[in-house]
């Protein structure tokens, strides 16, 4: 007999685990499927300073462990599995995984987002050869080297600040004349002697034989170009939602985010979504948590209505 779950949550990042705490407390049979290890994008930061409740900050690993313990305490089970597609089956859903299938009454898609690429010549070829998308992973390879970070949001500023622990000098390349990231991070960037900001600048191409050697830059205001010798480039220009596996099933917006209403309901009944994979989440842990909780509450009501 295949046992049918009340809810399967896809993804064990903050959104998925927050949802699991609530569905567990609602005494719904809750399974969380995670393709790697719980944590999601949190795992790419080392320290979190803006999550409410921790005035001194908290390590990302400790925070995710606490989320996970709390979800499991209320009965959620977490298994390692990659869901490849979802199919409808008489008003319920069947999740197809790489190991087996999971029948369930309702689903919360909380698959998060992955790195966005620049899409310029040389980027793909030199990835892992000086071009990186994760400062905490690769920073130590660039001890005393000249490096650049491209981007202007919270993550770009955080990565730049983190990387100054290792590098000799750092150019922060941004296509506009101001940053989007938090003011407090901007202040730290401007005060850091190792960081020089290149405003209004885009990367046109990336050069190097076996490893990164230089960047071809264009200043879009002055319309001038320059080639900059560089040993490392960290790309931090935002995220791409992991929505491809359901792109034929639910409505996506122009950025391929899953469209949700204010209750995190997708275009299909019984399918909810939460966190960075949706159109409703500004890439923060606290907002991911909020959308996960909203999805769990709406889903609980939905199953009650079905005579669960």
């Amino acid at each position: 007999m295949i046992d049918k779950h009340d809810v399967v949550i896809i993804g064990a990042g903050p959104a998925g685990l927050a949802a699991a705490i609530y569905t567990g407390r609602a005494r719904l049979n809750t399974l969380v499927l995670e393709k790697g290890v719980p944590g999601g994008q949190i795992l790419q930061t080392d320290w979190i300073e803006n999550y409410p409740g921790f005035a001194d900050g908290i390590s990302s690993l400790d925070l995710i462990q606490a989320f996970r313990d709390q979800a499991q305490k209320f009965g959620a089970r977490i298994e390692t599995e990659e869901v490849t597609s979802i199919v409808e089956q008489d008003q319920t859903w069947l999740l197809k995984g790489t190991r087996k299938d999971y029948p369930t009454r309702a689903v919360i898609i909380a698959t998060g987002a992955g790195y966005r690429k620049l899409g310029v010549e040389g980027e793909e070829r030199l990835t892992g050869r000086g071009v990186s998308y994760c400062a905490t992973c690769d920073g130590a390879f660039f001890r005393d080297k000249r490096i650049a970070v491209v981007g202007g949001g919270d993550n770009a500023l955080k990565e730049a600040l983190f990387l100054t622990k290792f590098c000799a000098s750092l150019k922060l390349i941004h296509r506009r004349d101001r940053f989007r990231g938090e003011k407090i991070l901007q202040e730290r960037v401007f005060a850091n002697a190792k960081i020089e900001v290149l405003w209004d600048t885009i990367i046109e191409s990336i050069q190097g034989e076996d490893r990164l050697e230089s960047l071809q830059l264009r200043n879009v205001k002055e319309n001038s170009t320059q080639r900059l010798e560089m040993e490392g480039l960290f790309v931090s220009i935002g995220m791409n939602p992991n929505s491809e596996f359901v792109s034929d099933l639910v409505e996506l917006n122009e950025w391929k985010e899953i469209r949700v209403d204010s209750r995190m309901q997708t275009s299909r009944k019984g399918l909810f979504a939460a966190g960075d994979v949706t159109s409703a989440c500004p890439e923060q842990i606290a907002t991911a948590i909020g959308t996960g909780v909203s999805a769990a509450l709406a889903l609980t009501e939905y199953l009650d209505g079905m005579g669960h």
Partner: protein
């Protein structure tokens, strides 16, 4: 960690990897690397399902910078497939399990 995965170091890399009769998939990783932890369970499964055809080894780059720099590893996780002492395949970053299998299968 699966019993089918071995730890290798700068010291025994030649013996365990370069001179291995079977192809060896080496995972360059570090404790502080979140995405490396995403790759880890995939390797556990590969170790169990592909045991007869290849070895799987983990190399901690923190403690074994020599080997990492010799092979030009500048991002982790990086998976290198060695066969007959040579690198046959390079997989950088978090790549889905089926893509990893696809890339290494043609060398096994």
């Amino acid at each position: 960690m699966s019993a089918n995965i071995i730890n290798v170091t700068d010291g025994d890399f030649e013996e365990s990897v370069l001179k291995s009769e079977k192809p060896v998939l080496v995972d360059f990783w570090a404790v502080w690397c979140g995405p490396c932890q995403i790759i880890a369970p995939i390797l556990e499964r590969l170790a169990d399902s592909h045991l007869d055809r290849m070895k799987i080894a983990k190399l901690n780059v923190d403690e074994n910078m020599g080997t990492a720099s010799k092979y030009g590893v500048m991002s982790i996780p990086t998976l290198l497939l060695f066969k007959g002492g040579e690198v046959k395949e390079t997989i950088v970053g978090v790549v889905p399990e089926n893509k990893i299998v696809e890339k290494i299968s043609k060398h096994l």
